[in-house]
């Protein structure tokens, strides 16, 4: 029999990377929130690679931290190896990535949840959401226990009707041997939410003792480690290495010979998989001229021998997987501990969501993470944070937080999702951000910490430290612009040694810094008035000056962009009867209900003439 167990302000379904940020942000903002997990031992699990960050994803983690989220701090506390990617390609695309101790990360995160005031962590499967008059009222567990609440955030990952597929075998299940959540989907369908199937996969895990690392190339971390969290400065040293090996012709032959046994090629998989996470059989088929593919071996943690075999995702039958694994150099005797699998799951079309991540049709219901059609821990955490913040702001009766494309990757991610939708699990990439020179991982705090502070997720202490950092950056930029260098013997001999043209007249240090071959560090000995020593402050000053021209170019683009974003569209416009809109545009606008003209203009099928009609309509409202 159903009974009311407790009243919460909000309920979060799922305690993965999205659910954690959603629950923590709401609790930290003072709301009584319950985070439900289907298994208490799977909190903050990394069911795929034991790694956080990477290109564009590293940016997301930095932004989460800048807003007052948790992921960066936990990643810093439990990292095994750290690497700044793309170092030679310019600061805008530097991306931080760490190998994580998977179990340590989970335990760390679980403890953070447990220690957080207002947050309740419970093991139960939520089977039904109670919705009345289009508004969320509460949730039921699999034991029919009822919890009332005003907001529900679904962060169900790959659990909804999860189905594991390996070769011609398939069964109901969540990731890492967990149960699937089989009931919630129906409750959502009953509430008018339309669901669809996506697919993803993960490679095998192998016992370290069975790997011959002498045949592989060692991949070390960076000497100088940059933390994710702006609150950290020194987080210790690298503890492990990764290893690189390659597939070969023999591997590819085994795959080709057994393609007919792949569920994907045999048509057994209905879900849409991501292009950036292709299975090894996919790579071999699509890029048949490539003679070898990279395989990275990544440790799963310090307390385990399990090694993650990156690049070897597959849904081929177990016997084929074993055979092909043993063709790879160093993996000849590899002992597989967990077999690679594909997983299919229910998720929602993100076009059904507002940029706040609240459902358009159901008040108080939010989605985050893989449930919204994304992929990746970082993408999930970013959405969890935004959904949590917006649910809290709504309960407070305050304006929602919608980050835009020009201020963050998080904003770009969510705008893409709710404006363009996605036909595959969406992954963040630097190429998706048109303002990437401004949205660097190094300045995430400058962009977002004031917002985090205003919301209430950044403490007074941290904010004051941030303000003083900002002031010091500005001071150093000013100094560099003012300080001059004369064409002295010392200056010119240094310039020559750096391969730079010697001076014939005096020059401002800032102008010298604009030469591509000159770095801030390289001119330390001739920059005599320099006092600043803080790495992060010097770095900001250097980038601001060095990239000034391009930064200005982007700022001009942002200015144009902001004009359009500033024109808000009322949520109740009757697009279908708005005179002048073309039918396709009217239908798209009606479905997506953009928040402003800028968003409207990014919808495919809405052209400049349609935007003109909307502009005129807006003006008629104003008069």
């Amino acid at each position: 029999m159903s009974f009311l167990a407790e009243n919460f302000d909000a309920v979060v379904i799922g305690a993965g990377h999205a659910g954690i940020e959603a629950g923590l942000s709401m609790a930290r903002l003072g709301f009584k929130v319950c985070v439900f997990t289907i298994n208490m031992d799977s909190v903050g699990n990394m069911p795929c690679n034991p790694s956080i960050g990477g290109t564009a994803k590293g940016h997301l983690v930095k932004e989460i931290d800048a807003l007052g989220g948790q992921m960066g701090k936990s990643a810093d506390a439990t990292f095994l190896q750290s690497k700044m990617l793309n170092k030679g390609k310019g600061p805008a695309v530097h991306s931080l990535r760490v190998q994580s101790d998977r179990r340590a990360y989970q335990e760390y995160m679980k403890k953070v949840l447990e220690e957080t005031e207002n947050l309740y962590l419970k093991q139960a499967e939520i089977t039904k959401i109670h919705i009345e008059n289009g508004e969320v009222k509460g949730v039921y567990t699999h034991l029919d226990t009822y919890y009332s609440c005003k907001a529900v955030i679904i962060a169900s990952g790959t659990y909804l009707k999860g189905k594991i597929i390996i070769g011609d075998k398939s069964y109901e299940g969540g990731p890492d041997g967990m149960f699937a959540a089989n009931s919630l989907s129906q409750s959502l369908i009953d509430a008018g939410v339309s669901l669809r199937r996506f697919k993803t996969g993960t490679p095998a895990r192998v016992n370290k003792r069975s790997i011959d690392f002498s045949k592989m190339q060692e991949e070390k971390g960076d000497d100088k480690i940059i933390p994710f969290s702006f609150e950290n400065t020194d987080i210790g040293e690298n503890k492990v290495s990764c290893y690189l090996t390659y597939t070969n012709k023999e591997t590819h032959q085994i795959i080709k010979d057994n393609l007919h046994r792949s569920p994907l090629y045999a048509g057994l998989i209905e879900g849409v998989g991501p292009r950036y996470c292709p299975s090894i059989e996919d790579k071999v088929v699509r890029f048949s001229d490539k003679e070898r593919h990279q395989i990275f071996i990544e440790p799963m943690g310090l307390s385990t021998n399990e090694m993650y075999i990156q690049g070897f995702s597959s849904s081929l039958p177990e016997d084929v997987q074993i055979k092909m694994m043993h063709t790879v150099k160093g993996l000849e005797n590899a002992e597989i501990m967990r077999i690679a699998y594909a997983i299919e799951y229910d998720c929602v079309d993100p076009l059904e969501l507002y940029p706040t991540l609240e459902f358009k049709k159901i008040k108080g219901l939010y989605g985050a993470g893989q449930f919204n059609g994304t992929s990746g821990y970082e993408e999930a955490a970013a959405q969890g944070l935004i959904a949590g913040i917006n649910a809290a702001l709504k309960l407070k009766g305050e304006e929602p937080l919608i980050l835009d494309r020009s201020e963050s990757y998080i904003g770009t991610l969510i705008d893409d999702l709710v404006t363009k939708g996605t036909n595959e699990p969406y992954r963040m990439m630097t190429s998706r951000s048109e303002y990437r020179l401004l949205l660097r991982q190094d300045n995430a705090d400058l962009r977002l910490t004031p917002i985090g502070y205003k919301i209430g997720l950044i403490s007074e202490d941290r904010y004051n430290a941030f303000l003083s950092k900002k002031e010091r950056i500005e001071k150093e930029i000013k100094r560099l612009r003012k300080a001059t260098l004369s064409p002295s013997e010392k200056v010119n001999s240094l310039l020559k040694s750096l391969g730079s043209v010697p001076l014939s007249t005096g020059i401002h240090v800032a102008d010298l810094l604009k030469r591509p071959e000159i770095t801030y560090d390289s001119i330390a000995e001739i920059d005599e008035t320099r006092q600043e020593t803080d790495f992060f402050i010097c770095q900001q000053a250097e980038i601001s000056i060095k990239y000034e021209g391009y930064i200005e170019k982007q700022l001009l683009q942002v200015e144009q962009f902001k004009k359009m974003e500033g024109k808000k569209l009322p949520s109740d416009i009757d697009y279908l009867n708005l005179r002048g809109l073309r039918i396709e545009a009217a239908q798209k606008l009606d479905k997506i209900r953009p928040a402003n003209l800028g968003q409207a203009s990014r919808i495919s099928g809405v052209n400049p003439a349609d935007i003109s009609v909307l502009l005129i309509y807006l003006e008629s409202l104003r008069q």
Binding site: C48, N49, T55, K89, A92, S313, M429, A609, I616, Q623
Partner: protein, 454 residues
């Protein structure tokens, strides 16, 4: 509300005597100052005054115009507005518009002036519905244009070019987004070389647009003939005013008189030449020499003969000079008795048209003949082609600038992140023509071309 500065031809495109180009927006006067050269700078002129002067592009005079300068809010759009009244005709008008666009204005979209007028409160609400109708009409026109263009060569070239740039960009972005992958990647050097190749193509397109087609730049037409057969009279009929001095004294026209005339939308760059004959007068001799030179450069020669007298040896000499040229023989003075051997001229393969410069009889026939010889009717029947070309020009110019910046960024040793922004700007400039977005296509190309991912 402040918008960027837009410009467009605001009179119907075609053959009106005067065309107007409207510039509206915060930089309208500034842009006007860059291209208009009158007694005073427009910025120093009082609002709502008209000024006579030249429009210049790269120091070359495009046209003599009347320029109206009007400061907002008392203008049609409510913004600062400059209106340029130039000589009608497709080429001049388009050249003026291009000059304006090159000086920093953006080609206005269909209905955009009206839209601004409305948004700036210059129109009342009762007019809004009709505005929406206008915009709709324009947009369906735009759709038609797009369909027309799909088969066009320039359009195809732009598509192909854009595709090349997307490939380059995808290469660069794959290299950035998937740093661990052993992509069989182009080096940044080869990417830069590829950018340079694209730049060359863009420049070629720009050149072909700038200098190329007859319809744009006009047909270089020499009017030749022995003295006093009515060359200058013919010229004046074309020009519609007394530009050449017409007298009955042989050798009156001593220099080459040039005139751009518009006949039904086609431009003739008319060269009225000195009569070709042996002369002892030194000045006249130079004129004759110049005439011969012009004749050799002309794309069309209108050879004028006096129909009232038989062919003379001078006429024969002229006929010899015509060999290998596109020629129309104009038999003038049909008001008098015809004594010329027309059949002989026609037997040489030269079409003849009989006219009377005095009564202007036969002039329409002559115009028709010129059109027939040079113009594919399809090219000029549609006004869309012209608007679009101005947009192409603007987009290509922007594309060129971005590519130049990207290449120079590469050459000065700047990093991939910056070059990638220039590349994307170049692509989106070309995409403006067809309204395509950049980043999604690059992402798609990365996945199509490269084996990336875990």
């Amino acid at each position: 509300m402040e918008f960027d500065t837009i410009a467009a031809i605001s009179t119907p495109i075609g053959t009106g005597a005067v065309s107007a180009i409207r510039i509206s927006g915060k930089d309208a006067v500034k842009i006007g100052d860059k291209i208009f050269f009158g007694k005073k700078k427009l910025s120093q002129c009082e609002s709502h005054t008209a000024h006579y002067g030249e429009i210049k592009y790269n120091e070359k005079t495009i046209d003599m115009v009347l320029c109206l300068v009007m400061k907002g809010p008392n203008t049609y759009t409510g913004e600062d507005t400059v209106e340029i009244f130039c000589h009608g005709g497709i080429v001049v008008t388009k050249n003026v518009l291009e000059t304006v666009l090159a000086a920093g204005a953006r080609q206005a979209l269909g209905g955009e002036f009206t839209k601004r007028a409305f948004l700036n409160g210059k129109m009342d609400l009762s007019q809004s519905e009709s505005i929406i109708d206008i915009i709709n009409a324009k947009s369906s026109l735009e759709k038609d244009i797009a369909i027309n263009q799909a088969g066009g060569t320039l359009q195809k070239n732009i598509f192909a070019l854009r595709q090349e740039l997307i490939e380059i960009s995808a290469n660069m972005m794959a290299f950035i987004d998937f740093p661990d992958e052993d992509l069989i990647n182009d080096t940044t050097e080869t990417l830069c070389e590829k950018m340079k190749l694209c730049l060359e193509k863009v420049e070629k397109l720009l050149r072909s647009y700038q200098s190329g087609r007859i319809i744009r730049d006009g047909i270089n037409t020499a009017i030749v003939g022995k003295p006093n057969v009515g060359k200058s009279s013919l010229m004046n009929i074309f020009a519609g005013c007394d530009k050449s001095i017409v007298t009955d004294i042989e050798g009156t026209t001593r220099d080459v008189v040039e005139e751009r005339v518009d006949i039904d939308g086609i431009i003739l760059n008319l060269w009225d030449t000195a009569g070709i004959r042996q002369s002892d007068d030194k000045v006249e001799s130079i004129g004759v020499l110049k005439s011969k030179e012009k004749l050799s450069k002309a794309q069309l020669v209108i050879a004028v003969f006096d129909g009232s007298i038989p062919l003379s040896s001078e006429d024969e000499e002229i006929i010899r000079l015509l060999e290998g040229k596109k020629v129309i023989a104009v038999i003038n003075k049909t008001d008098l008795e015809e004594k010329i051997d027309k059949n002989y001229i026609e037997s040489l393969g030269i079409p003849t048209i009989s006219i009377s410069a005095l009564s202007e009889k036969g002039i329409d026939e002559l115009k028709g003949k010129i059109k027939e010889m040079f113009i594919d009717e399809n090219l000029i029947s549609s006004g869309e082609e012209i608007i679009t070309n101005a947009r192409h020009f603007e987009a290509l110019t922007k594309c060129k600038n971005s590519l130049c910046q990207g290449i120079s960024a590469f050459e000065t040793g700047l990093t991939a992140d910056m070059i990638s922004i220039d590349l994307e700007n170049a692509i989106s400039s070309l995409g403006e023509i067809v309204g395509m977005t950049v980043s999604e296509e690059i992402v798609d190309t990365i996945f199509r071309k490269f084996c990336v991912g875990k």
